[in-house]
Chain length 325, copies 2
Amino acid sequence: MNIGIYGYGNLGKGVEAAVMTNPDMKLFGIFTRRAPESVKTLYNTKVYPADEILKYKDEIDVLIICGGSATDLPKMTPALAENFNAVDSFDTHANIAEHFENVDKSAKSGGKLALISCGWDPGMFSLARFYAGAILPNGNDYTFWGRGVSQGHSDAIRRIKGVLDARQYTVPVESAVMRVRNQENPTLTTREKHTRECYVVAEEGADLKRIEEEIKTMPNYFADYDTTVTFITKEELERDHKGIPHGGSVLRSGKTGKNLENNHVIEYSLKLDSNPEFTASVLCAFARGVYKMHQRGETGAITVFDVAPRDISPKDPLTLMKTLL
Amino acid sequence: MNIGIYGYGNLGKGVEAAVMTNPDMKLFGIFTRRAPESVKTLYNTKVYPADEILKYKDEIDVLIICGGSATDLPKMTPALAENFNAVDSFDTHANIAEHFENVDKSAKSGGKLALISCGWDPGMFSLARFYAGAILPNGNDYTFWGRGVSQGHSDAIRRIKGVLDARQYTVPVESAVMRVRNQENPTLTTREKHTRECYVVAEEGADLKRIEEEIKTMPNYFADYDTTVTFITKEELERDHKGIPHGGSVLRSGKTGKNLENNHVIEYSLKLDSNPEFTASVLCAFARGVYKMHQRGETGAITVFDVAPRDISPKDPLTLMKTLL
């Protein structure tokens, strides 16, 4: 199947690498809004101007749209899904239903199939919450993120006067995770679930005390958390904080039995060296599902909940049964 | 939807309790090969003789078959699937493909749908292995079981001369699990992955040294493991080893990136107070899937890989999207 990549940032690069590890996939090319000749790809993949994509409508089986959720995807996916089977990683949880409706309308009118909000959260974490909740209707869900880099929080620090660069790590409170694992069913406040670690490069002569205060009191981002601020040099940031690791855990603690006397804990957890490359790997597997489902005549918008597992694997049912069941 | 239970041991009791927690399900009744009047149920559920089940063919939407994998299910499921949509927990991994074929033939000839090998392993652990492998094609799988009671190993000890009762726990070697979590990709022998703890009640005057030796050298069951044997009284067994806990972890360690330079670990783990009640909860959720898929016209045998997640939930797509995605 021929895969197209639309948008070539960290996620697009991750998809380029992931396609190479899936022998049943071929990379048609990368579409960018930048000047194509200015884009250096990992594998000398062909680069096309984004606004010429309609020319290749019949040559691309699934388009993986690698834009940002804030402003790109709400426009891109509905616009592209009329002419292409598509997968995106739209992750603004509050607006998913609206995005779904827009994409559904456009994909249906073009006879295409589009999977929205794929990746790990939303995506694999959603599936973990979903399966666990369907199995244990009496129970509580807990999601912990990290230890990992939050791009949004890092950006928020960079906007503070006197800050040159910053990296923010979201860190789950280990004792809170342990209480859930130990079946205590705790009620946890925001502060009890995560802490925030900030590594900041300040301008020479900047008022460090003021910067630290501005970070720690920033509403929504930091005020509700125990936040630590550590000032480091540009070199230290480059050396020690170059990666984009992430991960986390989804837990469900539930009860069964006549008197609900038995406790069970289901945990799904991820420990990722590269957030964008792992997300890209999930997008690729589900692109296979979109391709197969569209071949069977399905159109419109779907989510990970709509994809039967067998459709995302390149293996035949008998092999799956013998090796993985 | 009307659920029937066929077979009323620990698993059947678990299903009886699980149906009560699913408001969209009704329990039609329990079918047993014992004298119905001798069976005491948890909720005064109606009990029918197993050999009269065909009378109720049109009143049962899905039959959950709660027999053993060694001798019951290979006969029961093919026999019943011709007239009933069915779910079973057949767990003899080596014979799954053969069982699938037998059930498929029978279900297709009767226009019914039957899901085989459901539960947690095979079942949820299979799904965990499946999704992780589809996402990270370059990687290794690890499955650890326990800490939990193995019925088969407990039975093997009970067959030794001089043994009155026994309970065997399968215990994962924590240091091996940690090596996988730490992305070491180790090659692990049987002995390095699990230990076996045996609690044995011996007859008065029995030769304890001989019993311990017979356990530790038993081929397939114990010889390849570090096994400990502890002799206890009947009262201690009753007091300290009454439960049927189990659990374990499925891990996949995989690599991404142009030079496979980034490591990722996906872990799915279960900590279960009651193995049969949790298994029963999984069977119930998937019984819902079988019901919905059969309503859409699907027939034959299927596995958990064939069921789209949304079909096992009682919630509508919009609620799922807004609350779990």
